[in-house]
């Protein structure tokens, strides 16, 4: 029985890996998730890691302004079981024209993904019932806990304050850094 289940699980994983495409844009790699279940299993695989998932797109100005703050967060909490995933909602048809050039220019250190599931009406509430689809939007996931934020964080302080309740040992953390998010470019 267990063996059958395991086989099924392996088959499921195989199917999953086959459907997902990994790209590399000159050292900036990213994963395309064609459907929400693929992203969901990425989330499940993270187990007890605190996931900070930001939904953005190259066409979304406030999203772009906010991205450096997520990079800052990644750097500050590197090695503390925090994983930042920047999930783009760019159209897959503009992968070569817009998305990859943008990644090449920015060279993000956070994990980059592109969610190409067209059925937004179905997948949006799976991230949060509070979310109706406007971006930027951010969700923090740790096991069964979730916290959702609609819109752009005003500055780095606001983002870090939002994430802190999910971190195990706050006493060991440095003071919250002040950082305005804007790229200045």
């Amino acid at each position: 029985m267990i063996a059958i289940r395991l086989n099924r699980f392996l088959l499921f994983l195989l199917v999953l890996v086959c459907c997902m495409s990994n790209y590399s844009a000159s050292a900036q790699s990213f994963t395309v998730y064609d459907s929400m279940p693929q992203l969901e299993s990425r989330i499940e695989n993270a187990k007890d890691t605190t996931l900070v998932i930001n939904f953005w797109a190259t066409w979304c100005k406030p999203c772009i302004e906010e991205l450096p703050c997520f990079e800052e967060l990644r750097e500050r909490y590197h090695g503390q079981n925090v994983l930042v995933i920047l999930v783009s909602l760019d159209f897959k048809s503009q992968l070569e024209k817009k998305f990859i050039p943008f990644l090449k220019e920015r060279q993000f250190k956070s994990e980059i993904a592109l969610l190409a599931d067209q059925d937004a009406n179905t997948w949006i509430p799976k991230i949060s019932e509070e979310w109706d689809g406007a971006i930027p939007a951010t969700v923090i996931i740790k096991g069964q806990q979730r916290k959702f934020n609609l819109g752009k964080f005003a500055n780095y302080t606001e983002l870090e304050t939002f994430v802190r309740p999910f971190l195990a040992d706050v006493s060991a953390l440095k003071d919250i850094s002040e950082y305005p998010c804007l790229t200045g470019k």
């Binding site: 752009k152 850094s177 200045g184």
Partner: protein, 224 residues
């Protein structure tokens, strides 16, 4: 006994805390609520209210704007909706909820230009004081609220399910909802979600705290 009671209570408490901490965006009308009429300035410099539409059997209220790429993708479809359904008593009333202090491109002058360039056949209104969109609970552009003759909300959501390619849409939700109302039926679905741009709220305190802060934090604001 006490031991058995406390953990669930604490869990519930934590859960409630989560709800109260995060549930700030879900205000505004739900399907079945009655919308208040409004009076907003149109690109033709006149005040427009729902009550002005004497012949209307309902209203397709669309929160949209100039700058948002998603709003732009849907622009022609919004025009088409009006051209198709205004003669049947369901005009489009477009409202720009965004503050030009955040996005210059969404200023009243730019609205006028855009309406002229693309020959909007419907009224394009400016929610300059940002008092109307929060009542509706509009959170993104484009965001549709379909009202019946008595201003009861009958559908909230997206225009269809394919922003990029109109022809490939499997569900044309607003059309389906208007057709249902025309038949005297209930729209089904009456609520959908879609990707879009957030509504750009005008800053409450300082006009640009970001740049002010940037100057004060050279150590952190640098090379990234």
């Amino acid at each position: 006994m006490k031991k058995a009671v406390f953990p669930p209570l604490m869990l519930a408490g934590v859960f409630l805390l989560f709800i109260s901490a995060t549930n700030t965006s879900s205000t505004g009308y739900a399907v079945g609520d009655r919308a208040e009429d409004f009076s907003l300035k149109s690109v033709n410099n006149k005040l427009v209210s729902l009550a002005d539409y004497k012949e209307a059997r309902g209203y397709i209220v669309v929160f949209t704007c100039n700058h948002c790429p998603y709003a732009q993708l849907y622009e022609q479809r919004i025009i088409d909706l009006h051209n198709k359904y205004a003669p049947q008593g369901y005009p489009v009333i477009a409202i720009n909820p965004n503050s030009p202090l955040i996005v210059e491109e969404d200023s009243f002058e730019e609205m006028q230009k855009r309406a002229k360039t693309y020959k909007y056949p419907f009224e394009y209104l400016f929610d300059e004081e940002q008092k109307v969109y929060p009542k509706f609970g509009a959170t993104r552009t484009p965001h549709v609220f379909l009202l019946d003759q008595d201003r009861f909300i009958r559908y909230i959501g997206a225009i269809d399910d394919n922003p990029e390619t109109p022809k490939s849409a499997k569900n044309r939700w607003v059309e389906k909802a208007v057709e249902a109302l025309l038949r005297g039926d209930k729209p089904n679905p009456d609520f959908t979600r879609a990707v879009g741009c957030t509504v750009k709220k005008k800053p409450t305190v300082a006009p640009d705290p970001v740049s002010a802060q940037k100057e004060n934090t050279p150590a952190n604001g640098g090379e990234r």
